[in-house]
């Protein structure tokens, strides 16, 4: 069983990324279940997508990942990655973007929230297992690509790059062709490059 959790702030594109992963797993012939956060939380709240894949022929029961069972957590925002750490398996990998999204509550507070503080906290948390933390400088990468909308594809490619999922970049490319609107396929494929 492979459990991938995608977490971020409403509107960041976790849902499509979860679909692409599910498609990639389906093309491998694995049983797949996913679950989404839809509704009020999409308005700037924390959102989580669960992707569960029976890569050893198992049937997936629950669509939700249990605590301590996520093989990979893909965080579109560092604080959301930190928030979901209780779900990470002891050998699991956290792939996180660096760009923070500051909620209004934090802007109002005396001490504003800064992503760099959380990133340092994450580095401390993974001090004994630095290979399990992958920090993706999304600002830099997306500037080079020229479009912030491909954040999800970049993070998926990085997650696959960790080698923790028995999927390769060709599987990802194929799934993108199947899931993404034709007009955006090339843009996303370039992002993988």
């Amino acid at each position: 069983m492979l459990n991938v959790m995608l977490t971020g702030v409403g509107g960041q594109g976790t849902v499509l990324a979860a679909k692409v992963l599910a498609q990639a797993a389906q093309e491998k012939g694995w049983h797949v279940r996913t679950a989404e956060t839809i509704g009020m939380a999409q308005r700037g709240g924390s959102v989580v997508s669960h992707v569960r894949m029976g890569n050893e022929g198992e049937e997936v029961q629950s669509p939700l990942i249990a605590r301590g069972c996520a093989d990979v957590i893909i965080a579109f925002e560092p604080a959301e990655g930190a928030r979901m750490l209780p779900y990470l398996a002891p050998t699991g990998v956290l792939v996180t973007a660096t760009t923070a999204v500051q909620p209004v509550t934090a802007a109002l507070a005396k001490d504003s929230y800064r992503g760099s503080v959380v990133l340092q906290g994450l580095r401390d948390a993974f001090a004994q297992a630095p290979d399990q933390l992958v920090i993706v400088p999304d600002d830099e990468l997306l500037e080079r690509i020229g479009n912030r909308k491909v954040l999800n594809t970049v993070l998926l490619a990085k997650a696959i790059g960790t080698g923790r999922l028995p999927l390769d970049l060709d599987d990802l490319r194929s799934a993108i062709r199947a899931c993404v609107k034709p007009a955006f396929v090339d843009l996303n494929l370039q992002a993988i490059g």
Binding site: T37, S62, P63, P90, L108
Partner: protein, 811 residues
């Protein structure tokens, strides 16, 4: 037949279409909305043939419409969220007595948590109350099969049937093979057949029907216990593998909890295996047909058991039924669950919790190791944890960046200032107006209750202004009867209609005010203004919520009126429009006062304590997140130092000075007046389509009066029909603290007088008059004088705000 990843809701839509559904209707509500949307998409794509699909104005309307279709022999699918069934309950309770002809299936999505709802009510209970069979899926695949079974059951027993998924079934996805094309089952040639003894409910008929209902429920319970496909929804498994003893421990679960229990049992077995602990034999059953309770199947299940643990969400429905079964059959099993404190009494279940419950139940506590992956854990001394988890920023849902509701809430707060008021909220995105810093919602109950609660408050607490917010979709769903009540009983309330041209919270569904239907037709949009007028709201003002000063004036004017009044805030939801270029903050000008944040709380504005500038020193500065900002410009109007600026001027007005812009707008309005014709005989057939309702409010605003007074247009006149003191009466006697604000308001009054003009759009007046004249029993005369007022406020109304009073400089 390709395999497709479908959400539970999408799968149920496919299932209904494959079952030949002819009419699909509902009202949006999370987590149910995608069912109707999927049917509409498949119809539009030419995949689903012969189906009629619609968003009805509310759930009651949808269910009654479907019942009509059923009487003509069509299969109908109704969808709503759990509270939607409350709205439709009047129809449901009675139609069950009348009985259905074409299959009638109600998908009622429950929301444990609740994640997007006001209640954790359990539709299984509602089904029992209404005496209607209910199916309770555990997975999207099962939901698919249950929809098809429900249609057959409905026609076999002439009963409506409820399918009750929960959020984790609605919004969970799996791969499905679905039909390439679907065809609605043809309606019998004769269509509706008159039968007064059958289709007309009377007390005598109701008595007979009650007996028929009791009879059929007993037959359905038998079918649930022993017939396929129902018995497959009540599947029983025994474990662990290789157990030699007969089980004495039973576990029963419902819906998604059944999936959690299956997974939890696997985990417990794995962990027991690793710890070399033998776990006792158990028997597990999912009850997928909770009402009428399949007592025979449960009796078989309970045979030989000493205990049954019930894992279910929301109410203790199965737990109650099992306790009754034990009593009725003198069985000796004990029932454990919510009532005994052995399961969560509310909220969602999850695998983690169920593992612990089962371990305890099976007497395994302390005998298994803590972690689920201990072969992995052996490699590490401690698992990875984030130390400062409590310091992570919380993210309650908020109004989107650029959301026009923000401007409306801000205007209401600014218009009221310290005037005592109760702000009655309602259901929709605008419930989020309660969040800091807007803090502009005092109550929220159910669809349409803002308008009516305000009336009760106005009766007993008249010292406070009674203000109600209502969104455009909610307005048509359940606001209108409340409006009529306000006028009829003479309640002094002010209704703020937040018209963003869509049903935003549930994913941008159209409604009567848009005129767009799921069948792809563009019908004439219903006018919110006309509805207000027809319901006796004589003082109706319009405002663009993203124009701060004009909105404040409109709110003041409406609240000043002693009687039912309204402001229609018109600006489209940001999901519907292309965003403007983001604004930016001039680091040389920003003082770090934080006013942009503390006043309107837009997610597009952050604060960086490390930013420095000549005027902010080491205080920090606000910054715009360009990925979030949609250029609504509200913050530009709020910043007291003009530190927030547009990227490029509006192209149309780029080369014009501010007063020249006013001239252009005025000229356009004059032109449109000159073009219009007047016909007092009311024979004009032109339709009233308020095309300008989402314009910036400048060029097309109008005043409808008895006699069009074209001569008045060129003159600058006061806000029509209002005495100046009416506008500002809130500050009367409000105390010393407010005196500065009163002065400020007086200044504004002068500006308003200078700038506000009143224009007239004759076609609107004619249309309303024509509509009234065509109603034989309609009002005999329309008080044209008091029909409506629209304010035309120009950019010249930029009145300087006071400098920030609090917080900023000291931050």
């Amino acid at each position: 037949m390709a395999k497709k990843l479908l959400m539970g809701n999408e799968a149920m839509a496919h299932a209904a279409l494959e079952a030949g559904v002819r009419v699909v209707a509902g009202y949006p509500g999370t987590p149910s909305s995608e069912i109707v949307e999927t049917v509409a998409k498949l119809r539009a794509a030419g995949i689903a043939h012969g189906v009629h699909v619609e968003w009805s104005t509310n759930e009651k309307v949808a269910l009654e419409l479907l019942f009509g279709a059923s009487l003509a022999g069509a299969r109908g699918l109704f969808t709503c969220k759990q509270m939607g069934l409350n709205v439709a309950s009047d129809a449901l309770m009675s139609l069950n007595y009348v009985s259905v002809r074409g299959g009638l299936v109600l998908v009622v999505a429950d929301d444990p948590g609740p994640i997007s709802s006001q209640t954790e009510q359990d539709t299984r209970r509602f089904a029992a109350f209404a005496k209607v069979p209910v199916l309770d899926p555990s997975t999207p695949e099962q939901a698919f099969r249950m929809i098809q079974a429900a249609f057959d059951l409905s026609e076999r027993f002439h009963t409506p049937v409820i399918v009750r998924p929960t959020t984790r079934v609605d919004h969970a996805s799996a791969f499905f093979e679905v039909a390439d094309e679907t065809f609605a089952r043809p309606v019998p040639e004769e269509g509706f057949e008159r039968d007064v003894s059958k289709w007309v409910i009377f007390p005598r008929r109701a008595y007979e029907a009650h007996g028929e209902i009791n009879e059929r429920l007993s037959q359905v319970a038998d079918a649930f216990s022993s017939e396929e496909p129902f018995s497959s929804f009540n599947e029983v498994v025994e474990g662990p593998e290789g157990a030699s003893d007969d089980p004495v421990f039973g576990i029963v679960a419902s819906g998604i909890s059944a999936a959690y229990v299956r997974e939890a049992l696997q985990m417990v077995e794995e962990r027991a295996g690793r710890a070399h602990v033998k776990i006792p034999a158990y028997r597990f059953m999912q009850v997928g047909t909770p009402y009428p309770f399949p007592a025979q199947a449960l009796s078989r299940f309970a045979s030989g058991l000493s205990d049954i643990l019930v894992i279910e969400e929301l109410d203790y429905v199965l737990e109650d039924e099992l306790a009754q079964l034990a009593g009725r059959t003198h069985a000796s099993f004990n029932v454990h669950g919510k009532l005994t404190g052995e399961a969560r009494d509310r909220g969602e279940n999850d695998v983690d919790d169920v593992v612990l419950r089962i371990e305890k139940y099976l007497g395994l506590v302390g005998r298994l190791r803590l972690h689920l992956h201990e072969q992995d854990e052996d490699a590490r001394t401690a698992s990875i944890s984030y130390e400062q988890a409590s310091e992570l920023p919380v993210r309650p849902p908020v109004l989107c960046p650029g959301c026009p509701h923000r401007g409306a809430f801000y205007a209401v707060k600014q218009a009221l200032l310290k005037t005592p008021a109760v702000l009655c909220g309602d259901i929709g995105c605008y419930t989020l107006g309660n969040a800091q810093p807007l803090d502009a919602v005092d109550t929220c109950l159910c669809m349409g209750a803002g308008v009516t609660m305000a009336q009760g408050l106005s009766v007993v607490d008249p010292a406070k202004k009674a203000v109600a917010y209502i969104g455009d979709s909610t307005f048509f769903a359940s606001g209108m009867t409340g409006l009529a009540n306000a006028a009829y009983n003479g309640h002094d309330i002010t209704v703020m209609v937040l018209d963003n041209a869509t049903t935003a919270m549930t994913g941008s569904q159209p409604h009567p005010g848009t005129g767009y239907t799921l069948m792809g037709d563009q019908n004439e949009p219903l006018s919110i203004e006309a509805v207000l007028l027809a319901n006796g709201f004589s003082h109706v003002y319009h405002a663009n919520p993203l124009d701060k000063d004009a909105s404040i004036v409109a709110v003041k004017a409406a609240i000043a009126y002693d009687g039912p009044s309204a402001v229609i805030f018109e600006s489209p939801c940001i999901q519907l429009i292309k965003p403007d270029e983001p604004v930016s903050i001039d680091a040389d000008v920003c003082t770090g006062c934080k006013k942009c944040i503390t006043e309107i709380g837009c997610p597009g504005i952050g604060f960086d304590p490390l930013r420095e500038g000549p005027r902010s020193g080491s205080r920090g500065q606000a910054f715009i997140d360009p990925a979030l900002c949609n250029g609504c410009d509200l913050c530009v109007q709020v910043c007291p130092f003009k530190a927030i600026t547009f990227p490029v001027p509006d192209a149309e007005f780029a080369d014009l000075a501010e007063d020249e812009v006013f001239e252009v707008v005025e000229a356009e309005a004059e032109e449109s007046l000159a073009d219009a014709e007047f016909d007092e005989t009311n024979e004009v057939e032109e339709s009233y389509v308020d095309e300008a309702s989402h314009d910036d409010g400048a060029s097309a605003d109008s005043y409808q009066g008895e006699e069009p007074d074209l001569s008045g247009f060129d003159e600058t006149v006061g806000v029509y029909g209002l005495e100046d003191e009416e506008l500002f009466l809130f500050d009367d006697g409000a105390g010393e603290a407010d005196s500065a604000e009163s002065d400020d308001d007086a200044e504004k009054a002068v500006a308003i007088e200078e700038c506000a003009t009143v224009a007239l759009d004759p076609s609107e007046l004619e249309e309303i008059s024509a509509a009234k004249a065509s109603e034989p029993d309609g009002p005999q005369s329309v008080d044209q004088e008091a029909l409506t007022r629209r304010l035309v406020l120009t950019d010249e109304l930029n009145i300087e705000e006071d400098l920030p009073e609090e917080g900023g400089q000291d931050a």
